[in-house]
């Protein structure tokens, strides 16, 4: 994408910003343990967790790997794995 003058970008620019690139380790959900309580969803500072029928789903395009979800999960259903 060509740069606009002065660091200006069109609307919705932050949607295209892949903050997932910043991550050095990745949260993994143990769906067997997940009770879909939604605590991780509430605490995620990037709002990149959604709760589905199958359990918590993490959008890795935006997840910065801050580990707050891992820390907050009451069932310890989340763990961090090193990036490949």
């Amino acid at each position: 994408m060509k740069l606009l003058m002065g660091g200006v970008c069109g609307p919705g620019g932050s949607k295209q910003l892949e903050t997932g690139k910043w991550r050095s380790s990745t949260p993994v959900v143990d769906q067997g343990c997940c009770t879909r309580c939604g605590v991780c969803y509430q605490f995620c500072p990037d709002s990149c967790i959604s709760i589905t029928e199958q359990g918590a789903q993490i959008n890795l395009f935006y997840c910065k790997g801050c580990m707050i979800c891992v820390h907050e999960c009451p069932k310890k259903a989340l763990r961090m794995e090193d990036q490949a």
Binding site: L3, M5, G6, G7, V8, G10, P11, G13, S14
Partner: protein, 397 residues
């Protein structure tokens, strides 16, 4: 033919009159000596209806600059003025304004920087803003300050440039003294300056994000575009000076001004009001048979490397007089002039003089002494790295 009305006028008033005629949409400022008279005049013009600008009093220079960043992004023609600590308080915002390509016009009424606190004039404030990308032009006289502000809006708002511009004038020496000024009719100034028509701006109907985040994939790219814009500004500054001359019949503007340089062995190089003192000394010394000349640097950013090389190529030495200091290196202008010559096969000696710091007097006698020292250095065939402090009182050290 020179057009206009002749008046005896204070420097600050002349600047305020030029700004009034250029009709900025938004003015925001915080008072600081010796800038105060400019913004007082502008506030009174707004209060009396002579000027239709929105005048926003700010709680600090940081706020004033921030207000103008927003106003300029929304498509307003903007103006502010400051000095010394006030300008330094704007610094963070000026980096943003320059990189966001907002053509704010700013007058720096040059004053030394604390500590010790002083209101005396030198160039430390503006020279400290060497790197953000703001255009920096130094003027020698009140007339030149008046003319340069009119050109400043054209340079800054040009669609290929779109950079903030700082017009620097020595505090007190220019801001508070009176000189004969030839004023131009308002309608002719309006016609010359035109309207500000940005190609992009904050608009609810066509949303844009200003101040967006950039990672390692694009920050350097933005810095590169600033380099390109500054380089283009060199041509634009000359072009607008030519148009000004053709329109109003007087020479004012450009990157540098050289005076009696033709066969000069020793050249003085300086910026600001000191240049007019040097002109007198050059005339006196020429009458006495000395081959001496003067190069006035008007545009410090963009730095006129090519023009300096051309005008100084036959000199034996350039005595560069800095009214500011980069601690540990010395003269800032001198350092850049040295850099401009490094790759040249033929280099004059570049002698760095630090003078006028904190308002210390630089007069005809001290200029003659600098000339004599420069001749001596040439005669001894030595190259001196260290700056020479002019008038340093060693008795109190």
């Amino acid at each position: 033919m020179m057009t206009g009305k002749v008046a005896i006028m204070e420097g600050s008033r002349a600047v305020a009159e030029a700004i009034r005629a250029c009709q900025p949409d938004v003015i925001s400022a915080y008072p600081i000596s010796p800038q105060t008279h400019i913004v007082e005049y502008l506030a009174s013009y707004v209060a009396s209806g002579k000027l239709q600008s929105k005048y926003i009093r700010a709680d600090s220079e940081f706020s004033a600059a921030s207000i103008l960043a927003g106003a300029s992004a929304a498509g307003a023609r903007t103006y502010t003025a400051s000095s010394s600590q006030g300008l330094l308080l704007m610094t963070e915002v000026i980096f943003n304004i320059a990189s966001t390509r907002l053509p704010v016009v700013l007058t720096t009424v040059n004053r030394a920087v604390s500590a010790p606190i002083t209101i005396q004039p030198d160039h430390q404030d503006s020279m400290t803003l060497r790197d953000p990308g703001i255009i920096q032009i130094h003027v020698e006289s009140i007339q030149e300050a008046y003319d340069t502000h009119i050109q400043a809006f054209r340079i800054a708002e040009d669609k290929e440039i779109m950079l903030p511009i700082m017009v620097c004038m020595d505090g007190w020496i220019l801001s508070h003294s009176f000189e004969v000024v030839t004023m131009l009719p308002d309608d002719e100034i309006s016609a010359f300056v035109g309207n500000f028509k940005p190609e992009q701006r904050l608009d609810i109907k066509k949303p844009l994000t200003y101040g967006a985040y950039a990672d390692e994939d694009r920050l350097m790219e933005y810095r590169y575009t600033l380099m390109v814009a500054q380089q283009k500004a060199k041509g634009k500054i000359e072009e607008i000076a030519t148009e000004f001359r053709q329109t109003f019949g007087r020479c004012s503007g450009g990157l540098i001004d050289s005076y009696r340089c033709e066969d000069a062995d020793i050249l003085f190089m300086a910026m600001g009001s000191l240049v007019s003192t040097i002109r007198v000394v050059v005339d006196e010394m020429r009458n006495e048979g000395h081959k001496v000349g003067l190069v006035k640097v008007r545009s410090y950013r963009p730095f006129p490397t090519e023009a300096i090389r051309l005008s100084c190529q036959n000199a034996k030495a350039i005595a560069v007089i800095d009214k500011s200091i980069s601690i540990n290196i010395g003269g800032i202008l001198a350092t850049e002039v040295k850099s401009a010559y490094y790759h040249q096969p033929k280099r004059p000696r570049i002698i760095s003089f630090l003078a006028g710091l904190g308002g210390k007097e630089v007069n005809r006698l001290s200029l003659r002494q600098m000339h004599a020292q420069s001749l001596q250095i040439c005669k001894q065939d030595v190259w001196i790295d260290e700056p020479i402090f002019v008038g340093l009182n060693k008795d109190i050290l």
